[in-house]
């Protein structure tokens, strides 16, 4: 049922055997295939439009190639453009020159922040750092407990002065209204940094509650946390399965907390992960890490080239081109 870009382009290739100039109709047909494949891969529509426009311009102006047929030439351009956006500014954590390096995590509900906190801590610890985790999600039921377990699995301490939402102390009353205040995440974050300084930890990772792009109060709270702790890195964690909501979400978090890097989570699934292109394309922030499982070690540095061929399912197409 699912027609991949490879399938589509292989069909296009058959009809475009002649080598020579890229005619406008060759380019249009291939660009249309690519548009469909990008949408199937969940790349957000505004990014698809911008991208296919750029590819079309470049393809029409391209030098005549001796080695490649027209469709192949377009695909080569597509791949180059994809890798350029995804890997435009690849880098790893920027450490503080003095005092602890402060890393804040932010993202939608359920994106994988708390799990990432453990992975990042373990990864840094294995490199000789002495990270501490700070439990600043006081909202989701037992988020603090969860971080404590995660910290234990990673073998790093957790600063958790408040237990947050536990044991049903906001039990639904006769009015039907539950209470919503479980403490002050801004104060916890600030105290967490002080704790790290006092106990001489060289990295502090602050886990925050999930929040929606449209939730102004919670977005402001995230901004307040950022202002209180002046993080060196704010990592935006985004689920690789996300669809068209990626752009609005990324823009809202960029405005709300001005993140410095992106982590793509749940890449162990079979989603194409067009979100990577959406977020990188719209915000220009580098994708730094990939989260690839529920375990504390399922974490890697992001590979732009792998992601490019994953999004467009271009593995064999690229091989074809290399062989041409």
């Amino acid at each position: 049922m699912f027609t991949s870009l490879s399938d589509r382009l292989t069909a296009t290739f058959k009809n475009l055997r002649t080598k020579g100039r890229l005619s406008e109709s060759d380019v249009n047909k291939t660009v249309r295939d690519i548009r469909m494949a990008l949408l199937d891969a969940d790349v957000a529509l505004p990014v698809v439009k911008e991208f296919t426009h750029a590819v079309r311009e470049r393809a029409l102006g391209a030098e005549v190639s001796q080695a490649l047929n027209p469709a192949q030439q377009v695909v080569k351009i597509v791949n180059e453009e994809l890798v350029a956006i995804l890997g435009g500014s690849t880098r790893t954590i920027r450490f503080a020159k003095s005092g602890p390096t402060v890393i804040m995590l932010a993202g939608l509900q359920g994106a994988g922040k708390t799990t990432l906190a453990g992975k990042l801590a373990k990864w840094l610890k294995d490199q000789g750092h002495t990270p501490i985790l700070v439990a600043a999600d006081l909202q989701r039921p037992n988020a603090v407990t969860q971080l404590q377990v995660v910290g234990e699995r990673a073998g790093v301490p957790v600063f958790a002065p408040e237990q947050g939402n536990v044991g049903g102390h906001d039990a639904v009353g006769p009015t039907g209204e539950g209470t919503k205040s479980f403490g002050d995440p801004v104060a916890v974050s600030r105290d967490g940094i002080r704790e790290a300084v006092n106990r001489q930890h060289d990295v502090v990772i602050v886990d925050t509650a999930g929040r929606l792009a449209v939730d102004e109060n919670l977005m402001k709270q995230a901004g307040d946390i950022r202002a209180a702790i002046s993080p060196h890195e704010v990592l935006f964690v985004i689920d690789a399965m996300i669809g068209q909501a990626a752009v609005e979400t990324a823009e809202a978090f960029l405005e709300g907390v001005d993140f410095t890097g992106v982590v793509l989570s749940k890449l162990d699934g079979d989603a194409r992960g067009g979100a990577a292109l959406s977020v990188a394309g719209v915000t220009g922030r580098p994708i730094m890490f990939a989260s690839t499982g529920e375990g504390v070690k399922d974490f890697e540095v992001f590979h732009p080239d792998r992601m490019a061929s994953r999004i467009l399912d271009m593995g064999d197409v690229l091989t074809l081109i290399e062989q041409a």
């Binding site: 469909m36 949408l39 199937d40 891969a41 969940d42 529509l45 939608l108 509900q109 359920g110 994106a111 994988g112 708390t114 799990t115 909202q139 989701r140 039921p141 037992n142 407990t145 969860q146 971080l147 404590q148 377990v149 995660v150 699995r153 939402n165 536990v166 044991g167 049903g168 906001d170 039990a171 639904v172 039907g176 539950g178 919503k180 929606l212 792009a213 449209v214 689920d239 399965m241 996300i242 669809g243 068209q244 909501a245 609005e248 979400t249 749940k266 162990d268 699934g269 079979d270 989603a271 194409r272 067009g274 979100a275 529920e294």
Partner: protein
């Protein structure tokens, strides 16, 4: 309704120009794609609308908008049965199993659904069959306490989830409860071992009692992968309904259109927030209006 949407502008432009140019149709298409309807459903809808406009000769904006709404509502199929079994069946508690990929809102949905049922004076028992994720059972137990229902759980991390599910169903029968809701660990549908484990949870429960509902929880922000999730979960545990969560954000959850069509499984409930009262029945017309208005 916002009038500055791509669709509104598209249709207005279409009207003022007096004929349907490609830009106008592209705007219609964009609206549907942006709602995660997917290329296939979008293309079909736009094609059928184009045919209708051609046959009709000239149509004004309101008419075309009405047709689009009509076709979308038909796609979402208001005739489907969207009730959730939640009263005793044949003298035993109703059994609801909640499944889905990681982080979609399963545990929260179990808590909110329990809240709805408690408000209907039902006796509810929760089963914490997620013995895997850090503090998953604690999270469910907090939900139980929030809405005032007991939670059956294991105190041991990594306990057999099927055994916990079995105990919960058995416990509910002994308590003569009306309904027992079993929360399971999030798992990606492409992980064969984890999907086998879920199949086992189902089979072990069935030694104690038939299962009345298997609810698949889908996150509204999910893109085209949602269909694959639904297909695989359906193969493994035979889902009877979808819960579409996080509709309080900007995502429209358009992927459920394909899911309903391909699998014939209705969306039954929607999640509208993190609080105990943020669960509602799925309303096809409201869903469609959120896409096109």
């Amino acid at each position: 309704a916002r009038s500055n949407t791509a669709l509104g502008q598209g249709l207005l432009a279409l009207l003022s120009r007096g004929d349907l140019d490609e830009q106008a149709w592209e705007d219609v298409e964009d609206t549907l794609l942006t709602a995660d309807l997917g290329v296939e459903a979008t293309t079909q809808l736009v094609d059928s609308l184009r045919t209708r406009v051609r046959v009709h000769g000239n149509a004004d904006e309101a008419t075309v908008r009405g047709w689009l709404r009509e076709e979308l509502v038909a796609l979402v199929d208001p005739a489907m049965d969207r009730t959730v079994v939640s009263s005793r069946v044949d003298g035993r508690p109703a059994v609801i199993l909640v499944v889905g990929v990681n982080g979609t809102g399963k545990t929260t949905t179990v808590g909110k659904l329990a809240r709805v049922l408690v408000a209907e004076d039902k006796d509810v028992v929760l089963g914490a069959a997620d013995t895997f994720r850090a503090a998953a059972a604690d999270q469910l137990q907090t939900w139980g306490a929030r809405v005032g229902v007991p939670t059956v759980r294991s105190d041991r991390e990594g306990a057999d989830p099927a055994a916990v599910a079995f105990d919960a169903v058995k416990g509910a029968a002994e308590l003569e409860a009306d309904v027992v809701i079993i929360d399971t660990a999030g798992r990606l549908h492409n992980k064969v071992g984890l999907m086998d484990e879920l199949g086992k949870v189902k089979r072990v429960i069935e030694k104690q009692s038939p299962i009345d509902e298997v609810l698949l929880v889908l996150d509204a922000t999910t893109g085209q992968n949602g269909l694959r999730q639904a297909e695989v979960f359906s193969e493994v545990v035979g889902i009877t309904g979808i819960v579409l969560t996080k509709l309080d954000g900007t995502a429209k959850g358009g992927i459920v259109v394909a899911v309903q069509r391909k699998l014939g499984v209705p969306v039954k409930l929607i999640g509208l927030g993190e609080g105990p009262d943020d669960l509602a029945p799925f309303d096809p017309e409201g869903f469609v209006d959120a896409i096109i208005d």
